[in-house]
Amino acid sequence: MSVNEDIKYDAKLDGILDAATGAGTGKSRSLGSVVTLCLLAVAVVLPFVAQGFVVFQLTMVMVYGIAIMGLNILTGFNGQFSLGHSAFFAIGAYTAAILMESFGVSYVWTLPAAGLTAFVAGFLFGLPALRLEPIYLALATFALAVAMPQFLKLTPFEHWTGGVQGIVILKPDAPFGLPLSQDQWLYLFTLGVGFGLYLAARNIIASRTGRAIQAIRDNPIAARAMGINLSLYKTLTFGVSAFYTGVAGALSAIVVQFVAPDSYTLVLAVAFLVGMVIGGVGWLPGSLIGGAFILFVPNIAEGVSKGLSGAVYGIILLLIIYIAPSGVGGLLHKTADYFARRRK
C-alpha cells in the first residue's frame, strides 16, 4: 500500500500555508500575516454580533478544529494514521471534568493537566504502534476508540467517572468582572488557546524537530540514515498529537458542561478523520474548516430531510470530495498554482 506516497502528495499542501498565511519569504510573508490578523480581528468581533447559540456553535467549531489539528500533526506531517483520537479527546475531557468536580481545580488549570495526561497516553500508545504498518496501526487505534467508552463505564472507576451517567460541570464566568456572557467568554478563551496552539504547531513544524517528523513521513529509511531517531520522534509525535486533542477534549467538557462515555465513540474519531480530509491533510488552518464541517453539515443534512439525513450528509461529503479530492487545502493550492501560471 502506497500510503506514504499519497501523503507525500498531500505534503505539497504545505506550500499553501505559505501562500495563504505566509510562512514564505518577503512579500508573501507580510501578506500572509495581514490575512491572518484580519481573520483574527473578525474572530474577536464575532461573539459580540452573533446570537448566544451561534457563539456556542462557533466555540465548538474551534474545539473540533484543535482536535483535528492534533490529528493533522500526526497524519499530515508524520504519516501515521489514527482512528482512535476520540479516545484522547475523551481522556482530556474526563481529566478536566474530574479535576473540576472532585478536586475543585479552576478550569484554566485543567487544560495543561488534560493535555499532559493525553500526551502520556499518546506517547505510551505510540510505543506498540511503532511496529505496525499503516493499515494495522489503523486497526490498533480503532481498537482504542472502541475500547474507550466501555473503559469509562467500568464499575471500579465509577466513583470518579460517574459511570454511564457521566459528570456535569458548571460553566465558568468571565474573570476580572469583564462584562461578557459565559458563552462569549468561553468563545474568546477557546479562541486564545486555539490560536496559541496553532502558532506552536506551526513553529514545531517549521523547526528542526518538525523537519525530522516530516522526513520520517517521506522516507523512514532515509530519515534513519540521516541520524533521526525514528522511535523517539514517532512516539513523540503521537504524544504531541494526543496533547492537542486532549486539550480540545478538556475545552469541550468546559463548553458543553457535560461528559459521558457515549459522547466519545468511534463516530467522533471518524468525524475527526473526515474533518481533517475535508480541510486538507497536512494544512493546519484547514483543521478549522474541518471543524466547521463536522459541526454544521450534519445539521444541514437534517434540515434537508429528517428521514434521509444520513444519505444527504453522505452526498454532500461526496460532492465536496469530487470538487476538492485533497480537501479545501488542496483546492486552494491548485487555484494558487493556476493563477501563478497565468501570471507568467
Binding site: 501523503i7 498531500d10 497524519t75 490498533a140 481533517m276 428521514g307 434521509l308 453522505g314 452526498i315 461526496l318
Partner: protein, 292 residues
C-alpha cells in the same frame, strides 16, 4: 470441559459469520488494496433486496441468485460511478468516500425499509446437528457455505485467466496495463465480486442477528479484525482469522472475569493487535518487501 467445548463451538459458529465478511473484505483488498468501510452496509443493503424479493413471493433459492446478480451489478456500478472519478486521489480521501457510502446506504435502507427488526428465513432449518444444540443446522450450513466460497475463490484466482489478471492488476497496475490487462475493469470486477460475496454473507447472517439497517456494524468490525489477523493478502487467512476472532471473543467473554459482553470486542481487538505486533503481516499473509 463441557463448557469449554460449548464456548469453542459457539465461537466457531460466530466465527463463520466473521469469516464470510472477512472474505469479502479481503476480496476487495485484493482488487483495490484498500479496506472498504462501506462493505458491511453493502451486504446489509443486498440482504434487504433479498428480503424484499421474498416478500414479493419469491422462494429463497430463487431470491438468492437474483440478489447475488443484483449485488454484483451494484458493486460494479458503485466502482464505475463513485470511485472511478477519484481513482488518483490520496488514500485518506478514499477512506472518506467509503464513510460517505456507508452513511448513504445505511440511511437509504432505513428510509426504504424502516428501522424495525425483521426476521429472515434460513434455508437450512434450525434443527440441532451436533450434541444438544451445540451447533444448529443453520450454523453448520453457514460454515459449509463459507468453506465452499473459499474453495471457489481459490480456484478462480489460481486457475482462471481473469483471476490471474486481477491478481496482476492489484500487484502492479502499471505493468499489468502494459501486458494488455484492462486494470479499470478488473477493479470494477473486484468490487462486483466483493459485493456479491457480501450479499451471500448478509443472507447467511440475517437469520442469526435479524435484519435491520445496523445489523452489520459490529460484525464488520469483527470481520476487519479477522481479515487483518489472517493477513489481508490471503483469502484462506481471512477465513481462518474470522474463526479465530469468533473463538477468542467467546472464550474471553467466558473466562476472563471482568469481561462482560460490553468488553468482548475491545479484548478481541487487543489480542489481535498483540498478535500483529509479533507478526506484522498477519498469520497467513505474505511479507511484502519494499525497494528503497
Amino acid at each position: 470441559m463441557e463448557l469449554f467445548l460449548q464456548q469453542v463451538l459457539s465461537g466457531v459458529a460466530n466465527g463463520a459469520i466473521y469469516a464470510s465478511v472477512a472474505l469479502a473484505i479481503v476480496m476487495i483488498y485484493q482488487a483495490i488494496h484498500h479496506l472498504n468501510f462501506a462493505q458491511g452496509e453493502m451486504a446489509m443493503f443486498s440482504t434487504f433486496i433479498a428480503w424484499q424479493l421474498m416478500q414479493w413471493g419469491m422462494p429463497f433459492w430463487a431470491a438468492l441468485p437474483v440478489t447475488v446478480a443484483l449485488s454484483f451489478a451494484g458493486g460494479v456500478a458503485i466502482e464505475r460511478i463513485v470511485m472511478k472519478p477519484i481513482e488518483h486521489a490520496p488514500v485518506l480521501t478514499h477512506v472518506v468516500v467509503f464513510i460517505a457510502l456507508f452513511t448513504i446506504l445505511n440511511s437509504a435502507a432505513g428510509f426504504i425499509w424502516d428501522f424495525t427488526i425483521k426476521p429472515f428465513p434460513t434455508p437450512f432449518g434450525t434443527a440441532p446437528v451436533l450434541g444438544n444444540g451445540l451447533l444448529s443446522a443453520h450454523q453448520a450450513g453457514m460454515i459449509a457455505v463459507v468453506l465452499v466460497m473459499l474453495v471457489l475463490l481459490y480456484l478462480f484466482f489460481r486457475y482462471t485467466n481473469t483471476g490471474l489478471a486481477m491478481r496482476a492488476a492489484a500487484a502492479n497496475p502499471a505493468s499489468a496495463r502494459l501486458v494488455g490487462i484492462r486494470v479499470g475493469w478488473t477493479t470494477a470486477l473486484g468490487w462486483g465480486m466483493a459485493s456479491a460475496i457480501g450479499s451471500v454473507a448478509g443472507m447467511l447472517i440475517a437469520p442469526v442477528v435479524f435484519l435491520e439497517p445496523n445489523m452489520m456494524l459490529t460484525i464488520l468490525l469483527y470481520g476487519f479484525a479477522g481479515a487483518v489477523l489472517g493477513g489481508l493478502t490471503s483469502p484462506a487467512g481471512a477465513v481462518l482469522g474470522g474463526f479465530i476472532v469468533g473463538v477468542v471473543e467467546n472464550l474471553a467473554g467466558t473466562y476472563i472475569p471482568v469481561v462482560g459482553p460490553e468488553l468482548k470486542l475491545p479484548i478481541a481487538l487487543v489480542l489481535i493487535v498483540a498478535v500483529l505486533v509479533v507478526k506484522p503481516s498477519g498469520l497467513l499473509g505474505r511479507r511484502t518487501v519494499q525497494r528503497v
